[in-house]
């Protein structure tokens, strides 16, 4: 059996996805990026192969994507995470009547992508060169609030007060703003909802820049946060399609592209 791999070497996590010849997802694996990108990428791939009882030779074609795509030399090719993200979301979205807009929030960037009905990237936008409105922002906020990242989603729905305004767009300044709000006796849930809305409004502005069309797909690690999903939905005024494994859409897309490239090369 032939398999095809996509490996998304992100700033925070390394994601590996494997598909078979039909393009069906065989498995995914997620691990922290750490400081040794190359070593950790190789280990992540091996871990997934072990889990599925496969050998390295079963993988016919491997495409690397993400921030560290050029560092993983074992890959057959590399592709930008925008193209890979679009391919993954397009493929996943087929079962839901098609996806035209993708919102992705990653560890250190956020992006909006508009694709045409055949899956080709039409337009995209990325955040400026800072961590505002990205996963890292949630990380910092959770630390300030002495919570685990996973707890933020639940807190979002617990309060009975309106979300507070977090005005700072800079992660570092927002940190002191959050500390100030805590010192003034505000509850965690209203602060957390405020943080989610602050990310949501930035993200929706980004999406509007590329032009929003249904259906909107939301992925990246922060899509695991239900509170953030609700805030984006509210700001956008449209329903969101959140995949089962939001972290691995881009790796899955790279695997799909690996399969297509391999089939194209071996067609003749």
């Amino acid at each position: 059996m032939n398999y095809f791999a996509g490996i998304d070497v992100g700033s925070t996590a390394i994601k590996v996805a494997l598909v078979d010849e039909q393009g069906q997802l065989a498995g995914v694996h997620v691990t922290a990026s750490g400081s040794l990108f190359h070593k950790n990428s190789t280990e992540a791939l091996n871990a997934l192969l072990n889990k599925l009882g496969l050998q390295r030779d079963d993988v016919r074609y491997l495409i690397a994507t993400g921030y560290g795509r050029k560092l993983f030399k074992e890959a057959d090719d590399s592709i930008s995470e925008i193209t890979a993200n679009a391919a993954g979301a397009f493929e996943t979205g087929k079962a839901y009547g098609g996806v035209r807009t993708i919102i992705n929030i990653g560890g250190q960037d956020s992006k909006a992508i508009r694709i045409d009905p055949t899956g080709n990237v039409e337009n995209f936008a990325m955040n400026d060169k800072c961590a505002a409105g990205t996963g890292r922002f949630l990380d910092v906020a959770a630390r300030n609030l002495e919570l685990d990242l996973e707890e933020l989603g639940d807190y979002h729905f617990q309060g009975d007060k309106a979300p507070l305004n977090i005005n700072s767009t800079c992660t570092v300044f927002a940190e002191s703003e959050i500390i100030g709000l805590l010192a003034n006796g505000h509850g965690k849930s209203e602060i957390i909802a405020g943080i989610h809305y602050s990310i949501a409004s930035r993200t929706v502005r980004l999406a509007k820049r590329v032009g929003v069309e249904d259906r909107v797909y939301f992925d990246g690690g922060p899509a695991l946060n239900k509170g953030l999903v609700a805030a984006i939905q509210d700001e956008l005024g449209r329903e969101l399609l959140v995949p089962e494994y939001p972290q691995t859409t881009t790796a899955f897309g790279a695997a799909i592209l690996a399969r297509n490239d391999w089939q194209e090369e071996n067609a003749g």
């Binding site: 925008i82 193209t83 080709n120």
Partner: protein, 429 residues
């Protein structure tokens, strides 16, 4: 006793070749030369020139008075006609950009800040000596407000008045008067008289340079490309400060080599490399950040609509007038009418020129650079984008500055854009 503990360390000037500016230039130049294969042999002249001037700080000899210009709207033919030498002061160095931040608000254009930073430093680059006069055309706001600051640095500055509506007859009259006044100013500076013969000779000299540029420009229509955009930008950047006749001869040599390349079926890039038209804020050495990122990612810049290249050299001056005053007027017209600078109220010519370049150079897409704080380019983006949208031409808009810290993010965006151009081409095929 205290001498044993305290020490006064005297200022020890760093030689230019070991300055941070020289280091910055060196890094970019090494990248331009070493990280690409099969550079044209005739490019060696330009590589060496930039090494001499930007890395070693060698001076370039010049004749007559030295007239610095901060914009291409200062008619250089007039400067040459008075026996003076023009040098374009617009600067592309990040180190000077940081230095220039003392003069301008933080969110101002890198180009203007770098030029101010350079002029305020000991090392005026290109190393051509201290200008006897700095001509500052009143184009964009940031340049306008620079005059006083440049004066404060001890330069003598001339404000060349430039209109901001292109189409009106009043503007045309106003600008012709400005140019005549500029000629008076040059007469005072040089103590020489403007003659028909001198002006004609100057126009012939710049005409030959423009003709060489046009030939180079036209070679870039070839698919697959014969030369990369990073080299073409370096060639036009050299025009800022190089001796014009030496420059023209070097470009003619390059053109001869491109003709050989063409005959031999040479290709500088893969046949499917996406072809890009570059527009917006001008790439000026060492800030060739975007063109280099585009070409590292496998694209090729085939043409540009910027004031450091095409807009500076493409439009030629007609010299069939008999009277000196008519010649000066026609020269003035050449600087106003074809100009596609975004400082004008309306700028349909820019959109037309861009659409034309995309069609003629078989471009797959356009990359639009706006320096953060260059409001006119930032604002004009909208109307240009609408035009391209209508025409179905993909465009990537990038707001950036001279700092290298966004390169990682930009490379992702550029690669994604080039990938989408490739896919598009595949589907259209």
């Amino acid at each position: 006793m205290e001498n044993e503990i305290h020490q006064v360390i005297p200022i020890n000037p760093v030689p230019y070749s070991r300055s941070r500016q020289a280091g910055e230039a060196q890094t970019v130049l090494d990248h331009i030369v070493d990280d690409f294969q099969e550079n044209p042999v005739a490019m060696q002249y330009f590589y060496d020139l930039f090494r001499q001037v930007y890395c070693h700080g060698d001076e370039i000899p010049h004749s007559g008075k030295l007239v610095g210009t901060t914009c291409i709207q200062a008619p250089e033919e007039l400067i040459y006609a008075f026996g003076a030498t023009p040098v374009r002061l617009c600067n592309g160095s990040y180190h000077y950009d940081q230095r220039g931040a003392d003069f301008m608000p933080a969110k101002s254009c890198s180009l203007v800040k770098a030029t101010l930073g350079m002029l305020s430093s000991e090392n005026v680059i290109p190393k051509i000596g201290k200008p006897d006069l700095v001509v500052n055309p009143s184009t964009c706001d940031q340049k306008k407000k620079s005059s006083v600051m440049i004066e404060g640095m001890g330069y003598s500055v001339y404000d060349l008045e430039f209109p901001n509506v292109k189409e009106s007859e009043a503007s045309r009259v106003y600008w012709r008067r400005s140019v005549r006044e500029f000629a008076n100013q040059l007469r005072k500076l040089t103590g020489k008289r403007l003659t028909r013969a001198n002006l004609k000779a100057a126009m012939a000299m710049t005409g030959r340079a423009q003709a060489a540029f046009r030939t180079l420009h036209n070679f870039r229509r070839q698919t697959p490309s014969l030369i990369l955009g990073k080299d073409a930008f370096l060639v036009t950047n050299a025009y800022f400060f190089d001796d014009i006749e030496r420059w023209t001869t070097a470009v003619e040599k390059l053109n001869a080599e491109l003709a050989e390349r063409q005959a031999a079926g040479f290709r500088a890039v893969q046949s499917k490399a996406p072809r890009v038209v570059f527009t917006g804020s001008p790439p000026i050495f060492p800030n060739l950040k975007l063109p280099l990122l585009i070409e590292e990612a496998g694209g090729v810049v085939v043409a540009d609509e910027t004031c450091s290249a095409n807009r500076m050299l493409y439009d030629m001056t007609a010299v069939d007038e008999w009277l000196l005053s008519d010649m000066v007027d026609s020269l003035a017209d050449k600087y106003l009418k074809p100009c596609t600078c975004p400082i004008f109220t309306r700028n349909d010519d820019r959109k037309r020129r861009l659409l034309d370049l995309v069609a003629q150079f078989k471009a797959d897409g356009v990359i639009y650079q706006a320096f953060s704080g260059c409001q006119v380019y930032e604002m004009e983006y909208r109307s240009v984008a609408e035009e391209f949208n209508k025409a179905g031409i993909p465009m990537l808009y990038i707001e950036t500055d001279y700092s290298p810290d966004d390169q990682g993010q930009l490379s992702t965006r550029i690669e994604a854009f080039l990938e989408s151009l490739k896919n598009r081409k595949k589907r259209h095929a």
